[in-house]
Each structure stands twice: as C-alpha cells, then as structure tokens.
C-alpha cells in the first residue's frame, strides 16, 4: 500500500479500540446511495520507478535548444545552492508558520525577504507573496481602490493601464477585479512603443494608474512623468516591475514626485526555474501607510518571553482566517517555497551579482538585436531603449517563422500577432545572461535561413 504504513495487525487493533468491525463501518454515516461510484477510469497504480520513467519520457519529449522567449518568464542562471537548500525537507514539507516557535526558520527567512524586496523597490513594506505577477497586479488594483476610496473626484470603478503592460497580467487582473465592479482600461501606447502621455491625460480620473517598467516590449517607460501625471489626478500609481531590472533601474519608490504607491510583479527572475510558468511568486510592496490594505502574509520581528528576538506572522486581522468576509483578500496558501528560493538567491547574488545578471542580459539582448537586424528585411520595431527584450520586425508574418524555428529546436521569441494584430510581423525576443555567443549566432543563421536570406 503506497504511503500507508498500516499492517493488518495495526488495522485489527485500531478497529477494536474504535469499536468498529471494519473500515467500511467508519463510513456508515454516509448515504449508501453516494458510495456506488465507479472509479474505473483511473488506471491502476504503478511503482515509483515506472512513474518516473513515464514522466521523464514526457519531459524529454519537450526538451528544446536555446530559449529566446521572455515575456514575463526568463531563463536566468540559478546558483546551485538555491534549490539544494530550498528543497530541504524542513522548508519543503512545513506548513504556513502558524506556530511561530516551531517555524522560526521560515519566519526569519520571510522577514529577510521583506527586507530585500524593500531594498530593491525602494518601498517601505512588503508582503510574503501572492500567487504570481498577474495575481499581484489584480490584488494591487483592489488594494489601490480600497486605499484610494476616500479620494475626491476619483472613479473607483476604473483603473488605467498606461502603455504596453503584459497582456496576460492585464487579462488576469481584469478577470479578477471585474467581479468587484472595477474595469481595467488599456490606454494606447505610442508609436514608439512607450506609454502615451496624451492618452493618460485623456483618461479621466481612474482610481489607479498602472505602468510596467520595463514594459511588455522591453522598453524603458517615462515613469517619472507618468507618476507625476497620475498623482496630479488623484490616482495611485501601481508599478509593475521586473525585480531583476531593479538592480539597474531607478526603484519605483523614487519615481516622479513621490514614488509609486504600490509596486508589484513576478519574482521568477530571482532564482525560479521557468517550469512552464509556475510555481513562481507575485510580490507586492507599498508604503507603510497602506500596510493594512496589503493582502497576504506579513512577518514582523518581536521578542519572546525571555526577551530574545523572534519572528511571527503579524497584522493577521487583515486576513481571511480572522476577518473572513471583510479580509483584504481571500488568499491563504501563497508561494512560500518560491520566496524561500528567491531569498537565498538574492543573498547569494548580492547587489553586485544581481546587477551583473541584469547588465549581462541587457548586453546579450543588444548583441542579439544586432545579429538579427543584420539580416536583410529584419528591423527593430521600436527605437526606444530596451532592458533585455526587444520587438523585432521580420517584414513578414512572425508566427510561421517562429514555428519553423521551434521545429528546429530553437525558441525564437514570442510572435505578437495574438496580442497586437498590428504587430503580426513581430517577434518579442529576449537573451538572458545565459545565452552564449554561439547560441545567438545560431539564432541569426536559423532566422536568415527561415526567411530565405
């Protein structure tokens, strides 16, 4: 019996103590009519060896050559120590740290994580994670609407997206906040691919303005201006950021007049494997004044009976298990293990290591863009400076080209037609610090071949 330790003698003596004749008898309160189901559609079990062989075969089937897709999920180097430690049973198989004294490991780690995220974003407080970047944006929107509910003249049923924010993030946020009567308005981006300040000017008085830095196209946004305009209109500013980029870029806490109000994003670039997009984790940071609107777990430092410092979940009155229907969110289980990995990752990288990974990725993408645009008919779609992603115009529909290259084992970037019909000829490409010169050259050659050049 896989995973069940009972011997026949155990079962006998346990039933005796219970006073039941059989295990079946323990189900005698259930209407027998409910018990007749046929589970034959489920196969018989297999041993671990066989299961591993099956799943390994599936995994092997999907192995490809180098990945040049980014779009919110990036193939960065992860120090070997990160997952060796994060996978220790003590982190992997613990629950949420409700019993603080028996969970100081996880609690201190989250406290350290909060500190690191505060340092990266330039904000004042951080939570212990939400599900992912998309969910983080949704929760940030809800939070902004709550936090701004006393502002005058602000439309609490609208938030505005300034420029090209990840379409999946926007979709996820829209699906979620729609139920509370909040609409997410996508403002046009400009011809240069950056947020259009005029569109923002014309957007009325949304409760919040969302801006992604770097934006979905990899471009640097004029965040200082956006923050200033948004604040002038009484909107709170939600910054969606790539935490790795923050090793280089100005922290949202310093944007514009008084910084962004809420900073969110996905932690994947911080030591999380791509793994089909999950599990990763979403983060939310904000000002101290909004901390009671923050969803999710928060860890605080306190002392024990003997006066020694220790860590515990705090401000739980925001949460569903205390506040129930009035909680800031329904979130319970979050993405703790990924936060564990990200914390170890950040400790190992330090500011310098993180900066190198960011600058290295930036430089490799520059190199890639030069390689690709050297092909006749291939050009850079937007001229604005980019971080580590770039929109490449192939001069012909990108989707079939990407498919051809995928069949040849090279993930050539994300065709944009699905999201922006006007960009049907475009690929969004990314080269992280892990991509080698040889791989970039291979991409160039393969693309030229696929284009018949």
């Amino acid at each position: 019996m896989p995973f069940i330790p009972h011997t026949p003698a155990d079962v006998r003596s346990m039933l005796e103590r219970i006073g039941a004749a059989s295990i079946d008898e323990l189900f005698d309160e259930i209407d027998p009519a409910l018990m007749g189901a046929d589970f034959g559609a489920i196969d018989s079990g297999v041993d671990e060896m066989t299961m591993l062989a099956e799943l390994a075969a599936s995994a092997r089937q999907d192995e490809t050559g180098p990945c040049f897709i980014g779009a919110g999920c990036y193939d960065h180097h992860i120090p070997a120590a990160v997952w060796d430690i994060a996978s220790r049973g003590e982190f992997l198989t613990a629950y949420t740290p409700y019993q603080a004294e028996a969970s100081q490991g996880t609690l201190q780690l989250i406290y350290e994580y909060q500190s690191m995220m505060i340092a990266l974003t330039g904000m004042e407080v951080a939570n212990a994670s939400v599900y992912d970047g998309g969910g983080a944006l949704a929760e940030s929107v809800l939070m902004a609407v709550r936090a701004n509910r006393r502002a005058k003249g602000v439309d609490l049923h609208h938030v505005a997206i300034a420029g090209a924010c990840h379409p999946h993030y926007v979709d996820a946020a829209a699906s979620i906040v729609r139920n509370q009567g909040i609409a997410v308005d996508r403002l046009d981006f400009g011809r240069d691919g950056q947020a259009c300040l005029d569109a923002l000017d014309a957007a009325g008085a949304p409760a919040a303005v969302v801006v992604q830095q770097p934006n979905f196209f990899g471009l640097i946004e004029p965040v200082d201006d956006i923050v200033r305009i948004a604040h002038e209109r009484g909107a709170l500013v939600i910054a969606v950021v790539n935490p790795l980029a923050l090793a280089l870029l100005k922290p949202p806490g310093e944007w514009g007049d008084r910084g962004a109000d809420i900073v969110c994003g996905d932690g994947q670039p911080l030591g999380i494997p791509m793994a089909s997009g999950g599990p990763s984790f979403g983060f939310i940071c904000t000002r101290r004044s909004h901390v009671r609107q923050l969803p999710g777990r928060i860890v605080g430092r306190t002392t024990d009976r003997a006066g020694r410092p220790g860590f515990t979940l705090t401000l739980q009155a925001r949460e569903q298990h205390i506040r129930r229907g009035k909680a800031t969110s329904n979130i319970c289980t979050n993405q703790g293990l990924l936060v564990t990995a990200a914390t170890i990752h950040l400790a190992l990288m330090g500011a310098d290591g993180l900066r190198r990974a960011a600058a290295g990725s930036h430089a490799k993408t520059g190199r890639l863009v030069r390689e690709l645009t050297a092909i006749e008919g291939v050009s850079q779609r937007f001229a604005a400076p980019f971080f580590h992603e770039c929109v490449i115009d192939l001069g012909q529909p990108a989707d079939p080209v990407a498919a051809t290259l995928a069949d040849a084992g090279l993930l050539a970037g994300l065709p944009l037609e699905r999201y922006y019909p006007e960009l049907a000829n475009c690929l969004l490409v990314c080269a992280t610090e892990k991509r080698t010169e040889a791989e970039i050259a291979r991409f160039g050659t393969a693309l030229a071949g696929a284009l018949g050049r």
Binding site: I23, A37, E54, E63, T96, Y98, T302, A347, G350
Partner: protein
C-alpha cells in the same frame, strides 16, 4: 555562529559569493535618468555564509519530514520524494510557458492526464488546472457561478451561503466575487442547521459553499437534501475540496449534487506545502458551468495530440487568472502521486485517513478529552474541546498546542472552526503509523496531567525550542517588518 542574526547582520561591505558573478555588460544604451543612483542594499555574504545561514534556518522549522504534523484541515501527509523528482526533470524545469504547443506535447499530455484523473475522482464533466491554491479555486468557482447567473440575466442573486464552520477563505471569496456571504449555523451534531438554512435560501441566493466532510470533522449527512433545496431555489452548490482526502475514491462530489468544486492538490494529492505554498486548486465543473471555465486548459486535438483551449474557443470563459497556466510544477507532482496511487490507492487514502482519525479520536476520548461531536464518526479529522481544562486549570487550547511542540509534535489547528470553544482540530492523515498516533495520544495525556499538576509549565510552553513563546501583541503594535539596515 549566526544564531539570532539575520543575513544582513552577517554581511560585510565588499564581501560576495563571487562565483555567482556572471559576466556583466555595458549599460550605456540606457538613459542615465532611468538608472538607480545607488545599488540596492542587499546582503553581502560569501557563498558559505549563505549556505550555512539558510541551512541553519531550515533546522528551526518543524516539518512533515521531521515531525508528526496533525494540523486539521491541512492534510499534512507524506509528500513523496518521487513526485518531487518527477517534476524536477530538466525537460519540465526548462520549459518556457509560451513555448509552442508543437514542442510541448509531453507537458500537455501530463496536464490532460491529470484533468482526467480529477474528473474521475470528482465525477465532474471538465477541469481547469489553472487556480494556484484552494482560495483561487474558490474564487474561480464562485466567479463561474456568477457568470452563469449573469449569462442567464439572473442578476439579483447577491448572496453566497456558508456554514459558520466554513474556512475563512469561503466568505472572503464571496466578497471578492462581489457577493455577500451569509452564514448559517451548525447544529450540535455538527451538521448544518436545516431550519436556518431553509430560512437563508431564496431567490437572492447565488449559491452555497460547503465542504463535506465539513471542518467540524463530520460528514454532512443531509447533503442530498441541501442540494435539492439550493437547486430548487435556483442556486448552485460549490464544493470546497479541502477535505476531499476523507472520501477520495469513495464518494464523488458530483454525486452529492455539487456543480463546481476545487481540489487542494497540496492536501489530497500530497504535494508539499513549502512553508506556506505553493499549492494548486484545480476546479472541476459539471456541464452547466463548463462554458465559463477559466483558461487555459488542455484538450485532445483531432490528430491525437494535445492543444491549449483559450478564450477564442471559449468566449464565455471567466478568463485568465494568472500570467501563465497555473502552478505547473505542483500539477506535475500531483500527477506523479496519482500515478503511484492509482485507483485502488486513492480509495485507500480515504479509508486509512478515516481509520487513523477515528482511532486517535478514540484514544483521546479514552484519555479523558472531550470530543466536540462525541456521537459522530470522525471523518479524516476531528475536534476536541479543552473548555473544561481552560475553565478548571486555566490551560487553554493554545497552551496545549505550545506544549505539544516540546514533546516533538506539531500542534493541531487551534481555534478553528470558531464555533467550538477552545478547540483543537486534529488530522493525522493516512501516512502516519499507529505508533506515532499512540505517542501523540500519550503526550496529550501527559500534558493534561501537567495541566492539572503544574499549569504554569504548560502555560509558559514551549520550553525546549530555540525560542520561547513570542509576543504577538508587540509584533502588531511595534511593527518591525524589515527593511535594509542602513
């Protein structure tokens, strides 16, 4: 030695884990106005320091791999290492979420297999794997209920009914979906109070959220009656699958009349809790709600391969809930577990979880503890109330919980459900041995003796952990939530 020190405390300016320094690059192409002026204040430690620090922190956690962890409602069972290994194959870890389906057939096949398993165990018509935890599954389900009513133009239903024993995520979910949560009482026998329920249900009712067995640790016996009641009023039934472990492979939620549900893979399907996550909360629906299922999910294509289903194919879908497709790695672990159990193994889960709970309940009853529902079978979990002990000796459920830590056991769930005073909700799970249950029962009995003989000892526990009882009030009053040192 770094006891009590944070990673910042052990750092020094200029120190680094230098072998993690990858080649840098020129950033001259970036306008200087967008660059940060000072580097972020991150710890500056050597690789050994980081490894030692976090290895040391891990040692301060209780975990299933170290201790019995009978946390009620959380199903802390063994998390097979084989499932962890299966999901950690390079082909899975290195797969980009937006890789074309043509080079993703292995992964898609896995998701499809898991969808089929979940359909079979729940009896439902379709599954979406995308929700990232139970609460997101609840959100998804209730959002679908709302989309269903909306699609029928039935817009006056504003209430979601939940029993008072419901998990906090249930009412919180109702709110997130724009509904009002209406609580109904639970009777002395642990079942929902039918009179109250009848009074609560009406044309304003969008639906009801139930978990069965309930968080009272008993099976809701009148479930078919409730189902008829709600359906007759035009409402739908949501099944909170957090307790599916109790009836896995024995009873299908669909047969109880539920229209939609989530399963907590991090409970029933043994994926690790990770110190607070990640989980996965796939939703399953009957035909009625199928058009509203969140995207993406996987279906078989005509050519025998697999493909993603997205909004273009399902225009009524409530849409996307996350940037990609959900917690893929958790789904793979669940599939691995399902493959190892198979049909027979799943049935055994419910049986032995129930056996363990009823046995431990009997042992504690015999040791003098008061059961919340003494006339009922335990499901996979049960409740004891320490009302007596609190009144007589001033020793509360929390004190018992803390003292258990000294005995090397994680505490059961405390003070939930709220309706039972001084309660402990105890869920041993099927993967624990009789000896472990006996040792736990013995410890509880000893603590009870201590509570009578030396209540201070129990009230000031724990005594043998790296830290003594923490001051939660101070934590909330004098907020210290971290931040870089300087």
């Amino acid at each position: 030695m770094t006891a009590g020190k944070t990673i910042y405390d052990i750092g020094r300016t200029g120190r680094s884990a230098a072998s993690q320094h990858t080649p840098s690059g020129d950033v001259a192409a970036l306008p200087s106005a967008c660059l940060r002026s000072t580097p972020p204040q991150l710890p500056e430690v050597s690789e050994l320091q980081a490894v030692r620090h976090y290895t040391g922190l891990s040692a301060k956690n209780f975990a299933i791999d170290r201790q019995f962890y009978p946390l009620g409602s959380c199903t802390m069972k063994y998390n097979p290492r084989g499932a962890h290994r299966a999901a950690s194959q390079p082909g899975f870890l290195n797969r980009h979420p937006l890789a074309p389906a043509t080079v993703s057939q292995g992964f898609l096949a896995c998701l499809h297999d898991l969808q089929e398993v979940l359909k079979a165990v729940t009896g439902m018509a379709a599954v979406s794997l995308t929700p990232m935890a139970g609460a997101q599954g609840e959100f998804t389900g209730v959002a679908m209920i709302r989309a269903y009513h909306d699609a029928r133009g039935d817009r006056d239903r504003r209430e979601i009914v939940v029993p008072s024993a419901a998990h906090g995520t249930n009412p919180a979910t109702a709110t997130m979906c724009g509904y009002t949560a209406r609580e109904v009482a639970v009777g002395a026998d642990g079942d929902v109070d039918m009179e109250e329920l009848k009074a609560a249900i009406g044309k304003h009712t969008a639906g009801i959220m139930l978990t069965n067995p309930s968080t009272c640790g008993v099976f809701e016996r009148r479930i078919l009656e409730i189902s008829d009641l709600v359906h007759d009023a035009g409402g739908l039934l949501y099944y909170d699958g957090a307790n599916l472990n109790a009836i896995l492979g024995k009873v299908r939620p669909a047969d109880m009349g539920f229209d939609v549900l989530h399963t907590n893979l991090h409970k029933t399907f043994a994926t690790p809790h990770g110190g607070g996550g990640p989980g996965a909360g796939p939703v399953a629906v009957n035909e009625r709600l199928l058009p509203f299922l969140p995207t993406p999910w996987v279906e078989r294509a005509e050519n025998g391969g697999y493909r993603w289903v997205d909004e273009t194919a399902r225009p009524q879908s409530i849409g996307r809930l996350s940037a990609f497709m959900g917690n893929a790695g958790i789904l793979l672990r669940a599939l691995a577990y399902a493959r190892m159990l198979g049909r027979e193994g799943m049935t055994r889960v419910g049986e032995y979880a129930t056996l363990n709970a009823n046995y431990l309940m009997a042992r504690l009853r015999d040791a003098g503890f008061q059961l919340a529902y003494p006339d009922r079978r335990a499901s996979h979990e049960f409740i004891i109330t320490l009302r007596q002990e609190a009144k007589q000796w001033g020793v509360t459920a929390m004190d018992f919980a803390k003292r258990l830590l000294d005995y090397g056991f994680h505490a059961p769930t405390t003070y939930f459900p709220l309706l039972v005073a001084e309660c402990l909700l105890i869920e041993p799970t099927e993967t624990e041995t009789k000896e472990e249950l006996d040792a736990f029962a013995d410890a509880m009995q000893r603590i009870r003796e201590e509570a009578e003989r030396d209540p201070e000892l129990v009230k000031t526990a724990p005594h043998s952990l790296p830290i003594e009882r923490l001051d939660d009030v101070k934590a909330a009053r004098e907020l210290d939530l971290g931040g870089p040192p300087g």
